[in-house]
Symmetry: D2
Subunit: 488 residues, 4 copies
């Protein structure tokens, strides 16, 4: 292997590239290659068949921003960082590759990455966030968050139309959500096909960027789509693909976050799941279009290609709709992760070792044989591990347990089949729990039966491992003072 590699290098300049595709809110269990028999994801499945699939990959810190922060810094965020800006000492994946001479590009429509969505910051998008790339292109974003420019055409959206896609929960947030749904529909109803969808726009921009590069060599492309994030409003045929044709209720494209009970009935929930599944299949279609172009351009021969999501979601799981609570259950923290090496190593392999988002940066650096300058402080040390030895079969694990959480709200550890979760005793609106939970994922994959009272000792052992792990990480500067230090 190494010998051939050297040979190639000597015999002629070997091209080398990295492409990461992150699609937001793609539940790991909504993919054929992850065992779902119903949802069609042929393109991801095909890609996985030529690559290595990680069956136990976790997003250590959620949601949107911490998840990407872990990828971009190779460091754990869940004990240390809230939804926040970069820190001045961060060593970025993009910067490291830029410095090594790579042609780095970020193409995305993932709105929160772009701007100041932090509280108390003026409501401008400064775009200062998570940069370091040589090329940055933001696609049109969902209008759910940002209003559409005033001169753009708008569909007429009556109250009646809104209620086709929305259901009131009966609290003060209804008015806010209705306004957002209206904005979204004003744009959405003008779409002619999924060509107009956000994921399509972003993929097409990425393709166009690749096509424009004179020399497809030493590129690092981070392609980041907000789809299949809500709202779940895919155009035909995806809107009908998984929804019962006899269903006549509202086709809720984005519900009011919170408990399902007393709000959504099972038919409505099932429709939501169907719309999401449709959105996933639409994403898969565009993933396929992108990968086809990658192949045509010859990049499969020389690129490390990574596919992953930042987290999952609640679709009635645990009685919730959307990320209304900080519970790091499998439906939230378990993510799809597939890595393809250009030389065929690991082809078709399925790895059950625990891996997580902090491993992305070390894996890429390892693949590119880039060594960071020595860390001047422990804040510059990577936490994650290269996954190449796993893929090559040289090792069978990179860590003993999986660790994950939501900053200052919940921490979890998984060891073997056991998953143990502790919640902050403090009254955060998002928590809703204080009692720790222990689940056996083999017997209880949906984490419905808390068996902590039967296994106190095991729970304690796991908690101790979790706490020791966090303490043992090379220290990170704590969160900004107004938020107080880490606590659980």
């Amino acid at each position: 292997m190494i010998g051939l590699f050297i040979l190639l290098r000597i015999g002629g300049r070997r091209k080398i590239n990295v492409i990461c595709i992150m699609m937001d809110t793609w539940r790991f269990d909504y993919a054929g290659c992850y065992g779902n028999k119903k949802i069609k994801t042929p393109n991801l499945d095909r890609f996985a068949s030529e690559a290595t699939l990680f069956e136990n990959a976790y997003s250590e810190g959620v949601p949107t921003l911490p998840a990407r922060m872990a990828c971009f810094t190779g460091r754990y965020t869940f004990p240390f960082r809230p939804w926040q800006q970069l820190e001045t000492h961060d060593v970025l994946l993009s910067s490291a590759l830029d410095r090594a001479g790579y042609n780095t590009a970020l193409i995305s429509d993932t709105l929160p990455m772009r701007g100041d969505t932090l509280p108390n910051v003026r409501n401008y998008l400064t775009g200062n966030y998570m940069m370091g790339f040589k090329y940055v292109e933001w696609s049109d974003q969902t209008y759910f968050w940002l209003p559409r420019a005033p001169w753009l055409p708008k569909a007429k959206v009556t109250k009646e139309i809104i209620y086709r896609y929305w259901k009131d929960r009966g609290d003060h947030r209804d008015a806010i959500f209705r306004e957002r749904i209206k904005r979204q529909l004003e744009a959405r109803l003008l779409w002619k096909s999924d060509e107009d969808s956000f994921v399509a726009q972003t993929i097409k921009k990425a393709i166009a960027w690749l096509e424009r590069q004179k020399d497809l060599d030493h590129i690092f492309l981070w392609l980041d789509t907000w789809d299949p994030h809500e709202p779940w409003d895919p155009p035909p045929p995806f809107d009908a693909m998984y929804v019962d044709p006899n269903y006549e209720g509202p086709r809720i494209i984005r519900a009011s976050d919170g408990p399902v009970e007393g709000y959504l009935n099972e038919d409505e929930l099932e429709c939501i799941r169907g719309l999401y599944a449709g959105e996933v299949s639409m994403c898969d279609k565009w993933l396929g279009i992108f990968l086809k172009k990658v192949e045509e351009l010859g990049l499969m021969e020389n690129s490390l290609i990574i596919f992953l999501s930042d987290h999952g979601n609640f679709h009635g799981d645990h009685g919730l709709i959307h990320k209304a609570r900080c519970w790091p259950y499998e439906c939230m923290s378990h993510i799809p992760l597939v890595i393809r090496l250009p030389d065929g190593t690991g082809r078709g392999k399925r790895i059950d070792a625990f891996v997580d988002t902090t491993d992305i940066m070390p894996t890429i650096l390892d693949f590119l044989e880039i060594k960071l300058p020595p860390a001047r402080t422990s804040h510059e040390m990577l936490h994650g591990h290269s996954l190449l030895p796993l893929i090559r079969g040289e090792v069978d694990k990179v860590r003993d347990c999986a660790y994950m959480g939501w900053y200052r709200r919940a921490w979890a550890i998984r060891e073997g089949d056991w998953k143990y979760i502790i919640y902050s005793g403090q009254n955060f609106v998002f928590t809703g729990k204080t009692k720790p939970e222990l689940f056996n994922l083999r017997r209880d994959p949906n984490e419905l039966e808390n068996v902590i009272d039967e296994h106190r000792d095991l729970a304690d052992q796991l908690e101790l491992k979790l706490r020791r792990f966090i303490s043992g990480l090379p220290p990170t500067l704590p969160a900004p003072p107004p938020r107080g230090g880490p606590a659980i």
Copy 2:
């Protein structure tokens, strides 16, 4: 005028765009339209003939970063900000337009804008600097600063070759400069024509970006080229255009900053000036290519187009080569500025009112009829003025005097023909002066004769105006503590 404008808006959606072209280190006196008979700048001249030329435009704060900070925030920098990052309270031109729904793009090869060139910061390019755009594309940069990627082809550059383009000054910096010249030549010697130059690369990227936009409407493009910044190494025919064909000395493409005396002889200096003039003509050629495309795309009909530079340079003026001192003489602080309104207003006009870089943001906002949200603190208030009333002939000045300087080193005021400069008494390496200077630019346009001893009262009046002006500006948060507060 206003009537027509409203009519157009009613009669059909009027397209509206803004294009700013900033070219770094373009001395105002190196352009035909600014009176230079020798240097060929036909494209800038033609553009100026269809637009409004500002004869007394200044870059209030220099060099690279402060100059752009003033454009991007509409606020004075010379009394307040060193070469520094954005401040968290800054309201950015890019953000304001983004929020108004504009399609904002920054296309540039101006290296210092991109990365952390601040002292004591790790030498990564984080690209966090001055963002806020929806699209950011950095072109290949001069290798003078950053090394070329190791896998790229390199010309063989011997010591002999280096000394064709460089001359030792005889101090410790020679070795550093020689290394940089070598890196630059390794790339430069492979160029086939000016098509390979940095300015060409950037212009071509900007053209390509414009061509890719589905709808050339509501775009805001900031095109920023580092050329004609040194090194001054234009390909043929520009390399020979202004250099004496009989000259046989080194063709110095970048000298060692400092006094000329004892270092460069007049022939060498004249060659340097010729190479710079060639670089300027090359830039003018590509400016023309860009403007031709703008016209073809129909953007002349609906775009505010601004051309300017960030500052000038010393070419033996005042005994200096390059920006070796902070002296805000005309050759440094006076800049070319040409503004073209789409409806022909101000066509062929030459305005001698004092304007500066803080006026760029207010002018653009005025043109686009964008009102910023009310400033919550005085740090969010604009310092500059819209230049539209000047162009329309509604007013004949926007300020009584021009103010300019270099943070903590020198401050200057120009009133009528008089220019008065004060220097910090503190021993900064870049200052080299302590005695204030008074010049009459009409009689002494090159600022060679300090007449302060004959006009003490006038000097005092000017200094008082200058100091009052600075004190009266809406306050800016001071520079970071380690650098101390403002002082002159």
Copy 3:
């Protein structure tokens, strides 16, 4: 002189001490030695006759805290520091003497020096302020600000009693002031004589401390009384000494700050002045008691003794009562300053050179022959000058002009007989003025006639001197960010 000094040092250990007596709000013109024929201050007069009196001493920054900050750091505050805590880089007079082995003591009842009177700080007295002494003793404070401890006896204070000492202005502050007057009277009405006054308590504590020292050598005592600060409620005979016996109106001990017009009539004002004068005479009595003890203890022979105040006040001057505006008129910024050298040098001398509060620290260090370690940054450099050369007659001035002001509100310069004041254009409640003012103190000692329109050039020259002076000071770290930088 020097010869003798060395002799004493060789012939036996020479004792050496420093005593500073600061009395708050003592107008320079309320003292016999400063020319007042009516107010009795025999003790200060006698002390002045044996010492050197400074006829043109200024408190460069007011009020309470900045004035002391200047004394304790030897640095100007009016352009740089609001009412604030010490800064971490401050080199303190107390610390410097402590380090040199002096027995340092601060004995005071000046409440604002003690605690957190800064806005937004919890209302505890942390006493962290301006320390550095080896011994700190706070006397009982006026209850006007702080409530009396609940277990202490209280006089019964009816509404009727309050209105004997107070007059409503007719705005929302009346209720607050009445509550404070009530608290003050609950304690005050129990006093049996001036022995119970605050100044007496503090002087007695200082005397007791001196008496307790085994060896009256190498001591540095800073004695700081809040009297004659308002409330002006001296016990007999001081209450009647200067008040018209036929006056029957309220004996206002503390008015509502602001304009006099429409609030106080001339009789009431005259009574207030009389009460203040009585308070001054009471302070003079206790100053005398203290100085007598100093003499008895032999300290006159070996101590540098300094008497000064921190600022004056408005007693109807300029239409104001109390420090309601930031106007740095003579009645506010001109202070009494008397310095006595132990060897008789300067005895009976009157010096009209401009001196200020920044000179206190350099004078003491000079007297004690203490050299500070070299300043590591310009923030550690002293601004003031030793006054010993002036006292010894070696020089006739230490600066050309006097400079004074109120942070971010007003700055003033005095040169010769001219005084020039500029006001911040910003709307501070305390300013109430924007037009600069020029006065000729010889012709118009009360600063009633602004002659700026007749002497524009002079005013401009003075303003330029003022602004140059401020810019030329070794830089100070600017005020905390939320308050913005220096501005006038």
Copy 4:
């Protein structure tokens, strides 16, 4: 009890006071009342017989500054705070009592409390540290740290004399220590008796202060002596009281911190222990003198009186001399604590519940019936518990375990007879250990036998309790950024 209390309050104003006596570095096992048969501490013993003795009191965070920080804020320091300044949000015991109207005084010679002993701070004593008292008096300090004022008489100290009191270890620190020993001896050799000792000076100052108070009511006195901190150089008879009269080696008054092995022989060690014991007996004598005066002044009738130390020391224990390592063994973290209520409650009682330094502030507030204003943030919440319910026998514990440590170096938990210690894996010079330790204090009171390998489960349970305890504390702002966050 309560009834009587109310009666007293009604029947006449009841006097109420608080006196805390902290003596630095007094090992709990060097006192008769704590079971030591050899060391004479009759005064502490007598005091304890009239008060309540806490058999299991701990100083949660050591050394000097953190220990007092815990007393003065009622909050744990060992996981959060290094040797540092107060934090701006700290609610101080002194401030709270001051605000309630108490006459607060700090009389001390404990040098590190006074000044800036932090690294990188200029070497002045600003005395800004831990104030909040109305009266602060610093006694002369040991000259071991600070040089003696130059004009004070000095004994002649030859090298020979130094070696009577000192022994070289053979490393670079010897020279530093010898210089300090010399300075100390220059003063020490002039002492005539223990009247001249530091503890005597401070006690006499405290007595004098008490005697000077007109009304011994509502006083809060914090009496803080640095003795019996090293150097251990008590005058006769204490110097000979516990030292073998036949011993002829050096009488080491302060050794070089570190391992004993290869440095001190057993005879030398035994002499050191004897000198320390003498110092303790000297302190006890002066404690007695102080308590006698307290009794004479009638304060026993109305005062809460607390005696405690801040930590112990190593006298060869664990192979160490002095606080050379951060090991929170009993000889270091276990402290003497005796509390006397004025009404006889708890007289002669011995309590074995776990209490610590965070309980001092809540106990005093409880005794004085002072309620703090509601905490605005969790940083203002007290961690400790009032010990009054324990003393009154209303409860038999205030916490289940004892927790203690040394910031970022070691954390420990004691539950029942078990003590478990974990060390930071990071290489601090002071740690010297990485393996956790488990001791059974009943069988192994000297913590010599680490039984962790036999009791892994127990150790894990204890560690989990410890970690949960720390996480569950109301959050404290973390240490200043340059030091990084909490880590073990």
